[in-house]
């Protein structure tokens, strides 16, 4: 099990859970760009947070689905995963 959420994993989840296709390298380069600009809406982000909880067996704070950018989400999720490690 990964102990850290990577941009590659996030890009894969965006495609599988919300149909938003984005290159992992672009996602990392544009990590401060709002999710909305990638075409990801709030339901899509909610689905990604739910999938992360299921895959990592972790409880992610309820405000994670309010993250506006990839970097914000990675910070919130990785804080949780590191605290558990």
């Amino acid at each position: 099990m990964h102990t850290e959420l990577t941009y590659a994993e996030l890009a894969s989840l965006m495609e599988r859970r919300a149909g938003v296709i984005v290159n992992p390298a672009d996602l990392e380069l544009q990590s401060d760009t709002p999710f909305a600009d990638f075409g990801l809406d709030s339901l899509g982000l909610l689905g990604i947070v739910g999938a992360l909880e299921n895959e990592h067996g972790a409880t992610i704070p309820a405000d994670a689905d309010a993250c506006r950018t990839p970097r914000e989400l990675l910070d919130v999720v990785n804080d949780v995963l590191k605290a558990r490690a």
Partner: protein
């Protein structure tokens, strides 16, 4: 009468400028029309995943539909097959009408669809997650994808259409009521409406819901399973697919240089409750009268009838009597057809598809036949065997829902549009 005519003349009127068809007999209006005028039947075994062991043996499935080539991944992941059909058919209709939000203005175009089955395949998958793994495994798009409103919402978002949007939950007859809703929006000031209905009820969960309908045919021979107006009538065969349209304010369409393919001339709806097909006679007759009144037409001006043709003897008999009640002796002379015996009934999509067929019939001057039906009992001039040439200016489309909705729609030839 003169005053009524004058008032109508001042009213903004809706004309159809675009068609998009997804039917078991063909994807796209051209393929569908070619098969329909030749009386092709696409009824066959149910092959959708997980449906093999159910008592429903025959249906009208849409084959060769590849949503990934027609709709972006983002919209596919978030929606059910019925919305995939709707988005693809809406694209065809918009392309036919050469209309988009960039040209017309985002608030100039609205959307109205009808649905009666919803997103059963998507919904079942998520419910299996719920009961198999727990609520945390249900995806958030379940909150929109399996509901009747999904197609309207996604067409609106995808096309950037911010005019009046709505959903008709009017049983199968909703496919006709969507025309009335769109025409009303256009009378009220909207330039154009994307309207219609598509359904995808051939998933295990959806089929199980339908097995409770006593009207559902479970006959295993595709040629015998749906024979309305005959003494072998044994219920109806369900189907998937439907049709989407672009309706526009007549003057706006003309100013864009787009031809009217048909005029939405009149509509009326009634409700007579479930379980009593004899009662639908009066309800349907009242709807036909109302639709003709709104169109300002006399009964003998109807040139072709697209029958509801449920395939249940009491319902077929009630429909024939309703036509006789309103059309009088003309009911025995006017050609009546039910092309849906070759496609099956896609619930709200069935009446939308019949409306597309009515437009194509008037354009080509051809009444398509009623596939698989050779004999008939109800005193109507049902067109069977081969298509019939006829000068068609006015088409009457009828639809009844299994739970008691009755609707009638009058469409007129595009040449009836005001010069």
């Amino acid at each position: 009468m003169t005053a009524k005519r004058n008032r109508q003349d001042e009213q903004r009127r809706a004309v159809i400028t675009g068609l998009g068809v997804i039917a078991p007999t063909g994807i796209g209006a051209d393929a569908y029309w070619k098969a329909t005028k030749e009386g092709v039947s696409a009824l066959g075994p149910v092959t959708r995943e997980g449906c093999g062991d159910l008592p429903l043996a025959v249906a009208g499935e849409v084959h060769g539909f590849d949503p990934s080539t027609l709709v972006e991944e983002r919209f596919l992941v978030q929606t059910d097959r019925f919305s995939h059909f709707a988005m693809a058919a809406a694209d065809m209709a918009l392309s036919d009408a050469a209309l988009d939000a960039a040209g017309a203005g985002e608030f100039a175009i609205g959307v109205v669809t009808a649905a009666g089955s919803g997103g059963g395949e998507f919904g079942q998958r998520e419910l299996q997650q719920l009961w198999g793994r727990g609520p945390r495994f249900v995806g958030p798009y379940q909150s929109i994808a399996w509901f009747y409103a999904a197609s309207t919402g996604q067409i609106s978002i995808r096309g950037g259409f911010k005019g009046p949007c709505g959903v008709v939950a009017g049983d199968e007859a909703g496919g006709l009521d969507a025309f009335a809703h769109a025409a009303r929006s256009i009378r009220g000031g909207t330039d154009a409406m994307v309207l219609g209905a598509t359904e995808a009820p051939l998933a295990p969960y959806s089929i199980v819901c339908q097995l409770g309908y006593p009207e559902l045919s479970t006959v295993r021979d595709p040629q015998q399973a749906y024979l309305p107006f005959t003494d072998r009538a044994c219920g109806f065969v369900p189907a998937e697919g439907g049709a989407m349209f672009v309706a526009e304010e007549e003057t706006a369409a003309r100013e864009r240089g787009v031809a009217a393919r048909a005029v939405i001339a009149g509509h009326a709806a009634t409700f007579t409750g479930s379980g009593d097909w004899a009662a639908s006679r009066e309800g349907l007759a009242h709807a036909i009268r109302g639709a003709l009144d709104e169109a300002g037409l006399a009964p003998e001006e109807v040139d072709v009838v697209f029958a509801d043709a449920l395939g249940v003897p009491a319902a077929d008999h009630a429909e024939a009597l309703a036509l006789a009640d309103v059309l009088g002796r003309h009911a025995a002379r006017v050609p009546v057809t039910a092309p849906k015996t070759g496609t099956g009934r896609a619930y709200c999509g069935a009446s939308a598809l019949d409306s597309a067929c009515a437009v194509l019939s008037m354009e080509h001057g051809v009444v398509p036949p009623t596939p698989n039906v050779t004999d008939m009992t109800d005193g109507l001039d049902l067109v069977t065997g081969h298509a019939r040439q006829a000068d068609l200016r006015t088409a009457l489309v009828l639809s009844r829902g299994l739970l008691g909705s009755n609707s009638a729609l009058v469409l007129r030839h595009g040449a009836d549009a005001r010069p």
